[in-house]
């Protein structure tokens, strides 16, 4: 049995809505920093890099699975839900990490893989051992492979079916993902209680919440696609109820790769998940840049429903998975493959396994533009480790390891990731002339004040200064140039700065964001009449632009240019 460690004392302020304003930073413990010198990144390694993360200005770390696992799916094949994989450290290491992070005002969430286990998890080992053991019904077994015919196969490159035959039990078991990841049976109350026990275990240890992996698939019903079922929502509400009852400032972040109109159900009436990823927005940002026109972005924003109070989108540019193209039309998918993945090795399942820098051909201007969207559109931004220094990828590695190579800290051996021999490393670091650690690493970027890293850090500061980015409404402005997208983030009625210490009553100013999607300079004429007489003050340099009122506001944007303006009323009061 895993040893229970007392909860770490909290230094982060009590603030049940912290996640609405937070900037998340997703990292892979096994490839972030190796403190033990065994070639695998670990929890103590993350702790050793908290100085850096605090300097960067992120608010919450999202840790990819660090649980014991045979690692056939990057740790999403968990073999023990209540322990730390030995190569990643111990429960004490986790407690120390949480305590140290909290002291710096940084929260930590981790992946919770509720849908399935590894096939070597003791639960499944017992379940497959006979048809009448105590855990016989903890998974979904059937005498044939004909059930749930309407369900699509997710990993089309690897799995011919969602059913796999087990010779021992002489039955088929159901798996939504790989065949070595059998799905748990949430119709079984014992499974529900076991998973709630897992939730309590980690929250007791001081974690600030979970990213709920594959949340849409928990429950199954014949005659359906087994996605977004009412029973799944009931299960998630049960988890929320458990969390709210004993852990008031935690967050549940749902991974639901669906249309916003379906995803919004995962917020319930504010009684289900606090957050959910906005998947369709991500590929459309890339599409808009390549097409040099705004409609891919504005169309999906127009289709995005309002959220219940206390809920927030999680938005991202890249993550540990492929750039998923499930939520685009077939036509757009072909377009994205043609533009971003001409080499077949870049494609994986229904998506593109590349990092941000390589997707944009290492063009820093585009990377800045995409981050400007990420930091200014409605939602809590989720950064992916390494993207802050524009790390590259390795498409010659298997599966999605292409985008999970070790963090590049220094130009030294193994990029400063580990002191182990190269052959020992969990994954090889990049060593190519463009993206290799000799050319690209945190140390060099920190010493170069004009680096992308410094630029991003500055943008995070600006975002923190303007809470309207986190909580304001969004209005897309009329612009006569298709390559220009302009929108205003305006405080919602009654919504204030809300920094968690009760100072939320002060009204924050509106912010105008103008972005040029074209690689050429572009003009734009914007109507700001409804915002009254005001002076746009550029946020990075605090430069006042000519006052506007009923007149059109004309701006000229450099290629991939970005302007963020505070709309300061002529009388000096915030808009």
């Amino acid at each position: 049995m895993p040893r229970r460690t007392p909860a770490a004392p909290r230094r982060t302020p009590a603030d049940p809505r912290w996640y609405e304003r937070a900037v998340f930073y997703e990292l892979s413990p096994r490839t972030f920093f190796d403190s033990s010198g065994d070639g695998v990144g670990d929890l103590a390694g993350i702790r050793a890099k908290l100085d850096y993360l605090e300097w960067l200005g992120v608010d919450c770390l999202w840790l990819l699975p660090f649980y014991p696992s045979p690692l056939r799916d990057g740790g999403y094949d968990v073999s023990d839900f209540m322990s730390v994989a030995p190569e990643c450290g111990s429960l004490d290491d986790l407690s120390a990490l949480v305590e140290d992070a909290h002291r710096r005002g940084i929260r930590i969430i981790s992946d919770l893989v509720m849908n399935h286990t590894s096939d070597v998890h003791p639960w499944f080992v017992e379940s497959r051992s006979s048809r009448d053991n105590p855990k016989a019904d903890w998974y979904l077994w059937a005498d044939d492979d004909q059930g749930y015919p309407d369900v699509r196969v997710v990993f089309v490159d690897a799995e011919p079916s969602n059913w796999t035959y087990d010779a021992g039990r002489q039955q088929y078991y159901w798996h939504r993902f790989f065949h070595h990841q059998p799905d748990l049976n949430y119709d079984n109350p014992e499974v529900v209680e076991a998973m709630l026990g897992v939730v309590r275990f980690w929250l007791d240890l001081g974690l600030d919440g979970f990213r709920l992996d594959a949340a849409a698939y928990l429950c199954k019903a014949e005659g359906t696609t087994c996605e977004n079922l009412p029973a799944t929502h009931e299960m998630l509400k049960l988890v929320r109820k458990e969390v709210d009852a004993a852990y008031p400032d935690k967050v549940l972040l749902a991974e639901v790769n669906q249309w916003p109109s379906d995803v919004v159900d995962y917020f319930g009436d504010g009684d289900e998940c606090h957050m959910a990823f906005h998947f369709p927005l991500m590929p459309r940002m890339f599409m808009a840049v390549r097409r040099e026109q705004r409609f891919p972005i504005t169309e999906i924003l127009a289709e995005t429903p309002a959220l219940p109070d206390g809920c927030q989108w999680g938005i991202f540019l890249r993550n540990h998975d492929e750039l998923t193209l499930e939520m685009v039309t077939a036509e757009d998918r072909d377009y994205m493959y043609a533009e971003y993945a001409r080499d077949p090795r870049m494609r994986r399942n229904i998506g593109i396994r590349r990092r941000l820098a390589t997707l944009v051909d290492n063009d820093r201007r585009i990377a800045e533009l995409l981050h400007a969207f990420l930091l200014s559109l409605p939602g809590a931004p989720v950064l992916y480790y390494g993207d802050e220094i524009l790390m590259g990828d390795n498409i010659y590695l298997g599966d999605r390891d292409a985008v999970r190579t070790p963090m590049q800290w220094t130009p030294d051996r193994n990029g400063g990731f580990s002191t182990a021999d190269f052959a020992q490393l969990y994954l090889p670091p990049l060593m190519d002339p463009v993206h290799g650690y000799q050319a690209l690493n945190v140390e060099a970027e920190r010493r170069d004040s004009s680096s992308f890293l410094h630029w991003l850090r500055r943008m995070l500061e600006v975002r923190r200064d303007y809470p309207v980015f986190a909580s304001g409404s969004l209005e897309v402005l009329s612009a006569d140039n298709p390559s220009v997208v302009a929108y205003v983030r305006t405080p919602r009625d009654g919504a204030g700065a809300g920094d968690g210490d009760g100072a939320g009553a002060e009204r924050t100013p509106s912010v105008l964001c103008v972005h040029n999607l074209s690689r050429f300079a572009q003009p734009a004429h914007l109507s700001l009449a409804k915002f009254g007489d005001c002076t746009p003050v550029e946020l990075l340099g605090r430069v006042p632009f000519p006052a506007v009122g009923a007149r059109t506001f004309s701006v000229t944007l450099a290629p991939y240019g970005i302007y963020w303006f505070e709309l300061r009323p002529e009388d000096g009061a915030p808009a």
Partner: protein, 397 residues
């Protein structure tokens, strides 16, 4: 000077002496009459309707000059508040007058940010209200306002004897279920004369020409020295490929023609009423897809959407509209090539021609793939393509 054929109703200040000099200063009157620089014109009041009594007040006035009818919306306020409301618009003032309570200033109400809000309620029969309005540049024969960034009102200045083609087309198409247009929200009419049309304002819409230019710019930039090479094969692969958009526009165009046939009928030879001024500045892309605009006419400038040069509705083969759209693509290509340096023009010309062929092809594909269009336009792709080319050449002449 003014003669009175219709008495102003009670509550409307005595404004008649100002009408002649005021109208003489307006470009829409000067253009209509061909008289420039006159101190006054001989105007006859035809009809005055009090829209809002008191202060501020509002009235609609129809005036005839040399057989042409003009529309004015007058407002008035007390002498203290009026200057502030009209700041920056001194040309809108007619002059001081008296109402029941004393002296007021009479002016063109479209310059008054509050009274135009009342006018919206009038023009929509009270169905629509707004909190803010802004004027926008418009053609000569009408004035335009945008309300709360959601409604667009055209207030007609020059009044025609017949129903305006714009009103006819918009209401006809909406009635036929054509969804790809800014939906009508109100129609102000008096005595059979169209005074204003209120429609949905689509703030995110941009002209198709802008999209086409963006697409071609991307392709041509790939042919610049140092930017790699571009060939015909790249036309469909360019980041800004317009093909899918043109295919969707083709489908919308086909739906437009089917709706026009449903609303206005079909001749025995298959001819239908056309948009008549159909090019890339008359179609707009917005978040919900393509919408068709430009049904408006300006009798003073000779632009007559949906009308032949005689002023009668243009009835012809639907492929005439399609040909006009294709000509518009050609024009974009010509303009883009002209912007290149002489040395790069030959290559740019080749690419632009390939771009044009691809997009014309996609446009026709989308058009012909639409259910029902086969009945209006007989023939297969190759045949239709040839006829469109011939029509385009004819229209060019």
């Amino acid at each position: 000077m003014t003669t009175t054929d219709a008495a102003a109703p009670a509550g409307v200040p005595w404004f008649e002496p100002y009408i002649g000099p005021y109208l003489a200063r307006q470009d829409w009157v000067q253009l209509a009459l061909g008289q420039y620089g006159a101190a006054t014109v001989w105007a006859q009041l035809v009809d005055v309707e009090l829209l809002s009594a008191g202060r501020p007040g509002l009235a609609s006035v129809l005036v005839e000059i040399d057989g042409r009818l003009f529309h004015l919306v007058l407002g008035w306020r007390d002498l203290v508040s009026a200057p502030g409301m009209l700041a920056g618009r001194p040309g809108a003032v007619l002059g001081p007058a008296e109402d029941d309570e004393g002296e007021v200033l009479v002016y063109d109400a479209l310059a008054d940010g509050e009274l135009v809000l009342e006018l919206l309620a009038v023009a929509t029969g009270g169905r629509e209200r707004a909190g803010h309005a802004r004027p926008v540049r418009s053609l000569v024969s009408h004035s335009s306002l945008i309300y709360d960034e959601r409604l667009f009102m055209k207030c007609y200045r020059v009044i025609e004897a017949r129903t305006r083609p714009e009103v006819e087309m918009v209401t006809g198409l909406a009635g036929a279920g054509f969804a790809h247009l800014a939906a009508p929200a109100g129609h102000w009419q008096r005595g059979g004369r169209d005074l204003a049309l209120v429609r949905e304002f689509v703030p995110d819409a941009i002209e198709g020409k802008g999209l086409a230019e963006t697409s071609l710019r991307d392709l041509l930039a790939r042919a610049e020295p140092g930017s790699g090479t571009a060939s015909f094969e790249d036309v469909g692969l360019a980041g800004g490929d317009l093909g899918p958009e043109m295919r969707r526009l083709g489908a919308v165009t086909a739906e437009l023609h089917l709706a026009l046939a449903a609303a206005f009928g079909r001749e025995s030879d298959g001819a239908i009423r056309l948009h008549g001024d159909y090019h890339l500045r008359r179609v707009m892309r917005c978040d919900r897809g393509w919408i068709v605009t430009g049904f408006g006419d300006d009798p003073l400038l000779g632009t007559k959407a949906g009308s032949a040069s005689t002023g009668e509705p243009l009835v012809d083969s639907p492929l005439v509209d399609v040909a006009d759209l294709c000509r518009s693509l050609h024009q974009v290509a010509d303009e883009a090539v002209a912007l290149r340096t002489p040395a790069t023009r030959p290559h740019a010309r080749q690419l632009a021609d390939g771009w044009e062929r691809r997009n014309v092809g996609e446009l026709l594909r989308g058009y012909l793939a639409t259910d029902g269009i086969g009945e209006l336009v007989q023939g297969e792709m190759a045949d239709v393509s040839r006829r469109v080319s011939e029509l385009a050449a004819e229209r060019d002449r």
